[in-house]
Amino acid sequence: MENTYYIIMNDLLQFTILQVLPSGKSLGWALLLIPLLPLAGFLLLGIFGRKHIGNVSGVVGTTLLLASTALALYTAYGYFFDFGKVDGVYQKLVPLKYTWLQFSPGVSIDMGIILDPISVMMLVVVTFISLMVHIYSLGYMKGEERFPTYYAFLGLFTFSMLGLVMSSNIFQLYIFWELVGVSSFLLIGYYYDKPSAVAACKKAFIVTRFADLGFLIGILTLSFYAGTLDFGELIQRLTTTAAPEFRAITAASFMGVSALTWALVLVFIGGAGKSAMFPLHIWLPDAMEGPTPVSALIHAATMVVAGVFLVARLFPVFSMSAPALDVVMYVGITSALFAAVIACTQTDIKRVLAYSTMSQIGFMMFALGVSGNGGESGLGFTASMFHLFTHAMFKALLFLGAGSVIHFIHSNEMKDMGGLRKYLPITHITFLIACLAISGVPPFAGFFSKEEILLATYHHNVVIYYIALVTSGLTAFYMFRLYFRIFWNRGAIVHGEHHGEGGFVMMMPLVLLAVGAALAGFIHFGNFVSSDGKPLKSVFHLQFSIAPVALGLVGIAAATWLYMKQSNKSESIAKALNGFYKAAYHKFYIDELYLFVTKKIIFNLIGRPAAWFDKNVVNGLVNLTGDSTLGLSGRIKGFQSGKVQQYAIYFLAGVIGLAVLFIYIWHPL
């Protein structure tokens, strides 16, 4: 029987360390622990949380995540400063790879870990933000009935997100992609007895699922031509123009567009779905039904940028197909502007933040769209990643700040707020920093990243550049609108006695993130992350950065003029551009459009007929055969008349009939 034992062991842990790292030591287990610790947290709290662990489960989850954060930072340090760089180029390391499901020779899903600048960067971001949120939730979610479940879900999400960023195989990425989706579904639906929350989580899941359909087909196409699912080989084969795979995929075309472009566009649809790009963005605002820390983690910092990450991961391949990149660019810029406009009109603070998130991700997207691969032209890539990094900081901060506001005032609506700066001083300061950062005011983080993006865009496409400029102006405007409406605008109405700001566990993350938001810009990002792994000198033109900053300041000024003091200027303006305002306020009726398509067309024109057809036609035919048989038997009962003479007549008729038949008609002899 030890033979059997051997087989099982073989199945369970046959890890193949592909590359012995320069430093000689294998990171296998350490790396593995980074995602596995949160997973352990999920299982632990998910199974035993409710009964046995109870209120300490928050602490359990947080400590586990702390550990994995430490490991992540250790790995990042090791990668960036120790073994990652081989003669000046950051390597793609795959320290861990295990064949999970072999489809056909060469094509298999491998569970692996890839280490390259973006994945390591994402490791840091995800673990750090997630840790912040864990800590913050200790205070924010205290006393919730399903406290353990909450932390279990957080663990699940963190695990999936880490798995996503570390995937060495496009199908592995897809797997974690789905897992991320489901954990987001679970967390949005956390308040499961609120119908709106239920609707929201369903919407989020289904919309992203729809997008994933594209992703899946894209993967199938890529793998079909590349004959592999492994990122390394895939990129290598589809970027070397000499390779037969590349020739095949560019030669094959459908509706005049090459298979490569199709595949990439399809993949991008998946990314757009996750990253709430126009027109697949409709789930994001509703997703705000989830607990605010969750929004901070999932719908601001990490999951929603997965789309950007996906494009970045496949960027070399994207760069081989200009049309695909253009699609990315146009979608990105559209979403950026569109979301910014809507954000100016929303009154639910979380929704405002949601739209701003969408807009910022739009920035990252078109930054990738305008970028080239390698060298100077890769500036867009770096910028996009840089913006992703900084955005994670200040957007998480914004959400957490909004969270403490909501925690304090028990409402999301601007009309219930105002003048809270006295009551929530720390929140106020950190929030202000975040607003400045996102508005691209130097020297805060946002300034630098957005600067690079605009620079890259300017070199690539001027029109896009001007639109982006306007958008950043709008960004400044709506952010400060938000800021003033919350903290200034009028005397606070605080009914009854109130508990102050959440206390240490809620403030500490704010402060840490604020520091990040303030200083992250000074990191020389290009040294670490670039499209080709070589350091990228980020050139910095002062005269160039005048315009955006100026626009930003204008926006801020406008916001100040309108909202600093309570007044009805804003209403009058809204009236002035009435139709447009209404349209923007109703998010340009995209939701209604979707509703129409799903309810009216899918349900009424496909689903209902299908059900009807099945009930009446298919089933009816089956019953019909039965009934007709019975009916026939009823009709021929006259034969058995009970008259013996008739029997005899039939008898004779039978005899004569048979005789005639076989003598004259059917006579084989």
């Binding site: 007549i649 004779l652 004569i656």
Partner: protein, 172 residues
Amino acid sequence: MSGSTIIFYMLAALTLVSGVLAVTTRQIFRAAIFLLFSLIGIAGLYFWMQYDFVAAVQIVVYVGGITVLIIFSIFLTQQAGDLLPKPKIGRQIFSALAAFCGFSLTMLQLYQHKFIGTSEEPLLPTVSNIGDRMLGVEANGFALPFEVVSVLLLAAMIGCIVIALRSKPATT
């Protein structure tokens, strides 16, 4: 036109005509009598073919036995003199049609078929021949059928006894 021919046609006429009347007349006694005539005619045909023994059996069994039996049963079940119920005309036509079709089909086939007879010299149906065939157990002997028929008659007798003679409690 020899005498035997004339006799043949007379017998044939007797048989068929009385047969037809036997199945059509509406007075049951006459029907029985016509049946009797028809059977006698057949017996006559046997005589005409010099199959005297069969003719004798025919007379004894049918004329002496069955017809009498039938007449007795008529006595038992019928009030004398009343007419039989009129058969349905539609049924009558249809039956006639069917019977005629069958008849014509059969005759057609019989006439189309070339019968080949034997060439061996005939074995006369004398009583002695019949007798030793009847009790012969070797080839062309009919002892076994004889036994079977006897069993059959026994069974028939038992059946008749059981059915016709009801036991006491039933009748009262």
